[in-house]
Symmetry: C2
Subunit: 108 residues, 2 copies
DNA sequence: CTCTTTAGCAACCAGATGGTTGCCTTTGAA
DNA sequence: TTCAAAGGCAACCATCTGGTTGCTAAAGAG
């Protein structure tokens, strides 16, 4: 039962995605690496707030930061990103299987 | 910008998925509708704990419960499930786009 | 009828989370 | 060489979260 164990380890990634501010940060990083103050600009929360969220995303492996002179640039992280997608696909497939099973069940 | 707003509304779903116990519950529901005490059996947490998690999943629209005599049966919910998958695909695609952009950037 | 199973409700608890502010350091621009 | 911009660190705070226990109610089995 390796799939089931895989599904469990993906929980932290989902948890990291489970916040609107963090989703917005990811969306903004979609247009390329960006500094913290840049990210803070339109965010509606404080710089430290943004920093905290970035750390959470980093902890889930979704994002990576590096100091570049005065500022620290953050970018989307490839590897875990793809891993996350794969876990999502796994779960989707599990669900699909379950759906066919469910259809053979009583409807409502 | 409807996509960006879509991504934001999917946060609660991710949050619901962001807990290992809940992922395990979903996995178990994959094999068909199940009662709370049945779900509690191998879970390692109390019945009330399971109930709470089910309520969270229900709040995210991932699961639906119905009283059937003495017991309450819970099953995976189709609609939001598919919606969730679609949001995931959306985000995946956004990320894919961003990846190609990133590749044209400096590597490391 | 009575008793066991199944579950709901409510209170409670410790720890995580999201957010803030204040102060200090580093770096680059003037 | 001085000063503003960009961030890190730490403390603090309120609320949410995951989990528990105890008690009560409803359904079914005997």
């Amino acid at each position: 039962m390796p799939e089931r164990r895989k599904a469990q380890t993906s929980a932290p990634v989902f948890a990291a995605l489970g916040d609107e501010n963090r989703l917005r940060l990811l969306a903004r990083l979609t247009s390329g690496p960006m500094s913290i103050s840049r990210l803070t600009a339109g965010s509606g929360i404080s710089r430290q707030g943004v920093t905290k969220h970035l750390r959470v995303l980093e902890g889930a492996g979704l994002v990576r930061g590096s100091r570049k002179g005065k500022e620290s640039l953050w970018r989307l992280e490839r590897r875990r990103l793809e891993e996350a997608q794969r876990s999502l696909d796994l779960i989707s497939k599990q669900w699909d299987e379950s759906l066919s099973k469910l259809r053979m069940f009583v409807e409502e």
